[in-house]
Amino acid sequence: MNDFLQFLGEPIAQRSLWACAVIGFANGFVSALVVLRRSALQIGTISCALLPGIALAILFFGLMQLSILIGAVIAGLLVGLGSLFVARTSRVNHDTALSIIHTTGFAIGYIILVQLGLQQKVDDWLFGSIMSMSNSDLWIAYGISALAILSITMLKRPLIIYLFDPRAAAAIGIPTTVFSYGIFALIILVLVSSLQAVGAFLTLGLLVAPAATMYQLTNRADLMFWGGGVIGAFGSVLAFFLSYPLGWHLGATIIVILGCIFLLAYIFSPKYGLLRAKR
């Protein structure tokens, strides 16, 4: 226990704690978009597809935070839009196209990273490592979080109409095409910010579980955003305090905690839970 208290005094521990809280909150907040849009699996494939973009960016521009960010954004856009394009111009449907493109991209990215001798780093990107986040990483994560929360809060009213009823939204003049690309871009940015915290494989959990938990508990769309943020932050901070004494991997612990919180809501939610009053 003393060990742990001493560890908490270290600047790196305090920084990680902040990172957990902020990234957890932003991801939880944005997860409402993913859940209300019913696009969880799509986002999952895109998060894995970020790897080749990162690998290529390192190959061409070296190992820099900015190049990694840009590579990830470009890869996300290419896979997202590329799969739409393949689906429209061939017989295969969108899910099939997405599966092929993201696995192929992931394989290419893995080969490049191993060739570059960055195998050690690969683990960090797949499963995350908050402790190794640099100052600039943190600032980028804070910036993306602020952007996500601000833009969603400011556009909340048309956004909820769009998510619920896109055709009626278009009919009353809400720019739905801008919204659908904007949401996509925002989700990719948030994915990139959480990549270092929980990694490409696990980031989907952080971007789905918090709002899915709220979905079990509330009938108010705006509560899904704020409640999702609180659950994401709470789960991440709790994981931080548990992972050190238990010796568990932090990113994985975050996802396990969020999964458990969802399970509790799934079973005990007064209105929609498994054990709701059946008389």
Binding site: L36, R38, P158, A171, G173, I174, N219, A221
Partner: protein, 261 residues
């Protein structure tokens, strides 16, 4: 009180006239999907106070026309005028009601929040609901008999109540034109009659109701006007006069003969 500019014109069905119009005029509408013509030379005009059925076989362009009227698609050429000005300059004048199957009923939203959405064109991005808006929302809920259900999640309503909730959203928008996508699909006979009466009373208050409809037998009972199309306009006018054997043959061909016998 509702401002004069946005008023819904109260009055009787046919004795109903306005100086400036309140007239929807569709002129020479063409639409295309790639190389395939979806609509050719569609023209009709109608004053508010009427109920209009869009009738035609599958693939005749009913939903294309609905989409164009709702502003979801652009026509290749042609114009849609409302009181002489392009309809899509005043988007709030038209309220769109989706098909039942297109709605995500488990979305976390209450009946009242759904109706509040109708105020968006008036409120814009950041305006907050004031007394006037709340009064309109209360009135819309009340006239659709949903006041006691307003805090329910929309999935907890019956089918008829769900439809009334969407109509209440259109009322809260103070839209003159209500555009409904196959509203009678999947309703039983009492449900159909209730909705038909409701649409009629909304038209009598001075709204223009436009709905795609696939049941030739019920159309004359529900709608006073019909537009029969199959890519192009085959007939337009009072429902009975449009749905003649000749016109139906022209629109449906042999499919019609097998369907009605």
């Amino acid at each position: 009180m509702v401002s004069d500019h946005n008023h819904i014109c109260w009055g009787d069905d046919h004795s109903h006239h306005h100086h400036g119009g309140h007239e929807l005029a569709v002129c020479k509408l063409h639409a295309r999907y790639g190389a395939v013509t979806a609509l050719r030379d569609i023209s009709f005009s109608l004053h508010c106070g009427h109920t209009l059925a869009l009738i035609g076989p599958n693939g005749a362009g009913k939903s294309t026309l609905i989409n164009i009227l709702a502003g979801l698609r652009k026509p290749v050429s042609g114009s849609i005028l409302w009181n002489g000005a392009p309809l899509h300059h005043t988007r709030s004048e038209i309220a769109y009601m989706p098909q039942r199957t297109d709605v995500d009923w488990s979305f976390p939203i209450t009946v009242r929040e759904l109706v509040e959405m109708g105020r968006y064109p008036a409120l814009g991005l950041w305006g907050s609901l004031n007394k006037h808006d709340c009064a309109i929302i209360d009135k819309a809920l009340d006239s659709m008999q949903l006041t006691h259900l307003q805090s329910r999640q929309i999935e907890e309503l019956s089918g008829g109540q769900q439809q009334r909730a969407f109509l209440a959203r259109a009322l809260a928008q103070e839209a003159h034109i209500l555009l409904l996508d196959e509203p009678f699909t999947g309703l039983d006979v009492p449900g159909m009659e209730a909705l038909a009466a409701l649409l009629k009373s909304l038209a009598n208050e001075g709204r223009l109701i436009i709905a795609s409809h696939h049941d030739l037998n019920t159309a004359p009972r529900i709608f006073d006007h019909a537009l029969l199309i199959n890519k192009e306009c085959i007939g337009f006018g009072p429902t009975q006069q449009v749905l003649t054997q000749d016109n139906l043959m022209a629109a449906f061909g042999k499919q019609h003969i097998t369907a009605t016998t």
